[in-house]
Amino acid sequence: MADVRHVSPKDGDALLMVGTMKGAFLFRSRASRARWERGGVYFPGNPVYAMAYDGRAGRHRLWAAPESFHFGSVMRSSDDFGKTWTSGETANLRFPEDSGASLKRVWQIAPGRAEEPEVLYAGVEPAALFESRDGGKKWSLVRGLWEHPHRPQWQPGGGGQCLHTVLVDPTRRERIHVAVSAAGVYRTDDGGRSWRTAHKGVRAQFLPDKHPEFGQCVHKIVRHPSRPDRLYLQNHWGLYRSDDAGESWKDVASGVPSDFGFGMAVHPYDPETVYIVPLESDEFRCTPEGRLRVYRTRDAGKSWQPMTRGLPQKDALETVLRDALATDGFEKAGVYFGTRSGKLFASRDSGTSWAQLADGLPPVVCVKAAVVAKARGKGH
């Protein structure tokens, strides 16, 4: 068994959570983000598609959903940065018997609003949303979405039939957007009781009807907390922006070598700045021309510029998956991504220049970044 190293982040440090096909890793650095320490491997051998940091209410809680090929997926948390984790024995996130469904994979763990520190959401496969109202001890199926008349007809995308993105609206308490492959974007305005599609204008390139009622293969949506009605969307072919909380979408793919890709992240302080890693095609799914380029817009998608400094520009046939691109919470934003070939890259100047943090990891499927919150009683 691999040796496990640990990190001990302090208040104000940068923390990276990296989920791979064979376990999870943590990286920590001071706020300068010049030098990083690595912790792990946690859950060796288990794919970890979903991780999250919950710094609300004075917590320092990590979440991970390790998945045993044989024995299923469990939600586990750690309050000491990975030194100990809650038990993996009991399946704490489970479909109710009357659903007839069995949990295959947890794709997303999303803490709820800051004012509701006990609320968390999880997006899973088969595509469904779960909610916890007690800080993650008990999870229940959000029935309103499960019972949506479209759901029985949702098709799987290339990664499976998954609910992979959960965006809570920081200002409207009852509004949540979710994205499902390959079904599209769904939105609730009543806390999950009723849902409707929110992907008008998003194409389904792979269907005879390019604008079906549902069936779009949305790969990722992001929102900026200071401008919650503005969303960006990386589609299975297509790059979009919405300024009306998903009522309508406008194509913003100008100046990119391909509008196919998976990951997407928004700058923590600037709602006009967004990052993507275009991939050549759904057939090839590698960086175009063997050049690993992060594309950045600073004008809400009107134009995109390639960021190449410090990234390999020759023979780099890389794939960055939908949850493997992230930003942290610093004003001079850290931007991070991991590749299927096990490399991890970081920028500490909002994407302008890059350094490689790790190589030789198992295939990276999840990268989440956070600033370690100040513990309660220390300045809050």
Partner: protein, 80 residues
């Protein structure tokens, strides 16, 4: 680990095992009560997939074995 049970079906025997080791149930069965796809349960040399699943009857002294399938590790790449 080994445990002894008196039971007339595999399901009954496993129910007794879950009582002894509660954490095992969710690892072997899905939330719908079916054996996970990559876990095999044998009665003697026979997989219960071929003999009636969890309702496979038990007669006399039998050994039930729970063994992870050889199909372990990471499934070949899906993008996601």
């Amino acid at each position: 680990m080994d445990a002894e049970a008196e039971a007339s079906t595999v399901a009954e025997a496993l129910d007794q095992l879950w009582r002894l080791y509660p954490g095992l149930r969710d690892r072997v069965l899905t939330e719908q009560g079916q054996v996970r796809p990559h876990v095999n349960v044998f009665v003697g040399p026979d997989s219960i997939r071929d003999t009636g699943g969890l309702s496979t009857p038990l007669e006399g002294r039998m050994e039930i074995a729970i063994i992870p399938a050889v199909s372990g590790g990471v499934a070949p790449g899906r993008d996601g």
